[in-house]
């Protein structure tokens, strides 16, 4: 079982890993931006205000300089200076204060708009100053510069919120960044889902091939380009090659087998005739008969796997086969001092129209059920109860055969059995002294797959159970 820690899985899955890392970085960025927005905004605005103040200060200094050059007594006239400043006081954004160097405020009253309260005595001591206007706190940024020739300093003050109200660049920047990150995250998720879907297609197809042995299946490659499309193409190409090779091998095996049938019949008939005269040949006759049976069954499995047993599958009622198999094998169980019990899902018993139709073939189902019952009887101890149960599911009708299985009496462990029991010539009895050819369950698997059904196997400590599940006619899975 995979017991890796989550982050290890994340590291080993590059697609999820990338998405998670991207998501984490984006989240941290957005969180920081949210937490520091106010601080960054203030910093930006103050920085912007400083530039505006410097520009204003520069302009005022230039104006004063110009006035001083054109008016000889300008420097002596405070009123002229005030007049100039009043003239410059043209916008709502900037407030200027004219201050004496030592005696405090020289003039400010006339320069402040009437709606603004005047309370500043010496703003030279302040970098920023705050007051309340209309119940709101207003913080001014200030810049102070000496006025040459006036023995005074000019302080220019600016309400920075005026700048931020129209041009909140940090907010815009953060919003754009957040949108880009979120769109990026969504795009990554979408891309990951697409790649994942293609990989799941590949996984599904390969798993289905492994489970059914049907090499005619292909990975869907529509609407794909790039390396993933090349991978899908290569896998499909490889599957085609394997399928062709398998078909050729099976066809060759079939041809060889057909060519061998007549000479084998002659040899067997001659041996049978000779055994009548020479009883010592009876063992060889029996061996050859077993060989013929094995040979015939192997060919039949080959044909079933090659889908050449039927030209067309029919709809059938499985119930008569179920009853026939029970009736045929009940005496065998009794002879082996075992018992055979059977039942149906409760709602099936109550159904007047019977079990319903499934996709299948009478002969194949009967032969498969006989193999299951024969196996169950052979490998169950005396006094045990073998159970046949018909289960109904959404798409399938399953016939489950459950028999006790003594693990202690077998050298094979359940996992090994689970993995290999359907292989040809597999024998749970590794000494191979038990009767049988090890093809019974291989046949069951091949027959059920040929009927487009499923075989399910459950091996537990003391119970062995095989289900033959046939597709119900009209079910969603029917092709």
């Amino acid at each position: 079982m995979n017991r890796r820690r989550p982050f290890q899985n994340l590291w080993r899955d590059p697609f999820s890993g990338l998405l998670w890392i991207y998501g984490a970085v984006a989240t941290v960025f957005l969180l920081l931006a949210f937490l520091l927005a106010d601080w960054l905004g203030a910093w930006y605005i103050e920085d912007s205000a400083q530039l505006a103040l410097e520009a204003k200060m520069e302009r005022l200094e230039a104006q004063i300089q110009k006035q001083a050059e054109t008016l000889p007594d300008f420097k002596a006239s405070q009123k002229e200076l005030e007049k100039l400043l009043r003239k410059e006081f043209a916008t709502d954004e900037v407030y200027e204060f004219f201050l004496s160097k030592e005696d405090g405020l020289i003039s400010s009253i006339d320069l402040v708009p009437p709606e603004m309260p005047v309370f500043i005595t010496d703003p030279r001591d302040l970098e920023d100053f705050t007051f309340y206007h209309d119940g709101k706190e207003v913080t001014f940024s200030t810049l102070t510069a000496p006025l040459e020739g006036f023995e005074a300093e000019l302080t220019v003050a600016l309400d920075p919120s005026i700048l931020s109200s129209d041009h909140n660049w940090p907010a815009i920047f953060f919003t754009i960044m957040a949108v880009v990150l979120l769109v990026g995250l969504l795009l990554s998720w979408w891309l990951q889902q697409r790649i994942k879907a293609r990989l799941l297609d590949i996984n599904r197809t390969t798993a289905s091939i492994v489970a059914s042995g049907d090499l005619s299946q292909r990975v869907i490659d529509s609407e794909l380009s790039g390396p993933l499309a090349v991978t899908v193409d290569n896998i499909n190409h490889m599957l085609s090659d394997v399928e062709t090779a398998m078909q050729a091998t099976r066809q060759q095996a079939n041809n060889i087998a057909h060519d061998l049938r007549t000479p084998l019949t002659v040899a067997y008939n001659q041996l049978q005739a000779a055994a009548k005269q020479h009883p010592e040949l009876e063992h060889s006759e029996k061996l050859l008969a077993n060989l013929q049976n094995t040979f015939g069954l192997l060919l039949q499995i080959n044909r079933l796997e090659n889908s050449s047993e039927f030209s067309d599958l029919s709809e059938m009622d499985p119930y008569p086969c179920f009853v026939d198999a029970i009736e045929l094998y009940e005496p065998v169980f009794q002879a082996n001092l075992q018992s055979l019990e059977w039942n149906l899902d409760q709602h099936l018993e109550a159904r007047p129209e019977g079990l319903g139709m499934v996709k299948g073939d009478h002969a194949l189902l009967m032969q498969s059920l006989c193999n299951l019952l024969d196996n169950a009887s052979k490998y169950s101890p005396e006094g045990s109860i073998v159970r046949l149960h018909i289960k109904d599911s959404e798409d399938h009708l399953c016939i489950e055969c459950t028999n006790p299985w003594l693990q202690s009496s077998s050298s094979v462990d359940p996992e090994h059995l689970q993995e290999h029991v359907f292989e040809r010539f597999y024998r749970a009895d590794q000494s191979r002294t038990e009767e049988g050819n090890g093809l019974g369950l291989s046949f069951v698997k091949a027959a059920v797959h040929a009927m487009e059904g499923e075989v399910k196997l459950k091996v537990e400590d003391d119970v062995f159970s095989i289900s033959i599940c046939l597709l119900k006619v009209g079910s969603g899975k029917q092709t």
Binding site: R261, V266, N269, E285, G296, C370
Partner: protein, 229 residues
């Protein structure tokens, strides 16, 4: 019984001919379908059974069979074939074949099938008897009752059909596959002792201790029911 064998494999044909002759039957051999058709349709041929291979040169078995049925020849035909898929069996029987035996087969199986097939089409046994019997064993098909020496025998449905089949073919070998086909209606070899178990149960009921055994095992072939002298 007069039999026509149509088989292209000389060795196989010779063996079947020899076996049939040793079993008291008269047999003619044709090497391909064309020759088989000629032999089967010539005047006074009066074959009671035709055994034909499926894959042959010139005219294959199915073509010959279709041609024979086209001229309303009703002689029973047993098809021998290496093609054993369900589709091929169906094709053979739909072309007019009456039985289909897959290679490789035991000669005893061929002989048993040939004899039973010919007897089924015999005008003597074509009439249906409601009552079947052998020695002191009687079977009433109407009331579905069996008794031996006047003593009632309890049989379930399958046992009744097995006994009925044996009594319809007295003294003839019946193989396990034939029983599965005729009594259960399934056409495959279970390769287990399942039929033997059923026969054993039936035998216990009809050949009870103190009675003359009627149901006999034929080694390497199957069973037959007869009164041994």
């Amino acid at each position: 019984m007069k039999i026509l064998l149509v088989e292209d494999n000389q060795e196989q044909a010779q063996f079947i001919c020899k076996g049939m002759q040793e079993s008291g039957h008269c047999i003619d051999w044709a090497k391909d379908g064309r020759e088989g058709f000629q032999l089967a349709t010539q005047q006074h041929s009066d074959y009671q059974l035709i055994i034909c291979d499926r894959l042959m040169p010139e005219m294959d078995g199915l073509h010959m069979l279709k041609a024979l049925r086209a001229i309303n020849m009703t002689t029973p035909v047993l098809i021998l074939s290496a093609l054993d898929s369900v589709d091929e069996r169906v094709k053979g029987l739909r072309s007019g074949g009456d039985d289909y035996l897959v290679k490789p087969f035991a000669f005893s199986e061929l002989l048993a099938r040939a004899e039973i097939l010919a007897s089924r089409f015999s005008p003597v046994t074509a009439q249906v008897d409601n009552s079947l019997s052998m020695a002191d064993l009687e079977l009433d098909r109407m009331s579905r009752k069996a008794c031996r020496a006047g003593k009632n025998i309890e049989l379930n449905t399958r046992e009744f059909h097995i006994l009925e089949y044996f009594l319809q073919n007295p003294g003839r070998v019946i193989t396990r596959t034939m029983l599965l086909e005729q009594v259960w209606g399934h056409n495959f070899d279970p390769q287990t002792n399942v039929i033997d178990v059923h026969i054993s149960r039936l035998r216990k009921k009809i050949d009870s201790p103190g009675t003359t055994p009627l149901l006999h095992t034929v080694r390497g072939a199957g069973y037959k029911m007869e009164v041994l002298e």
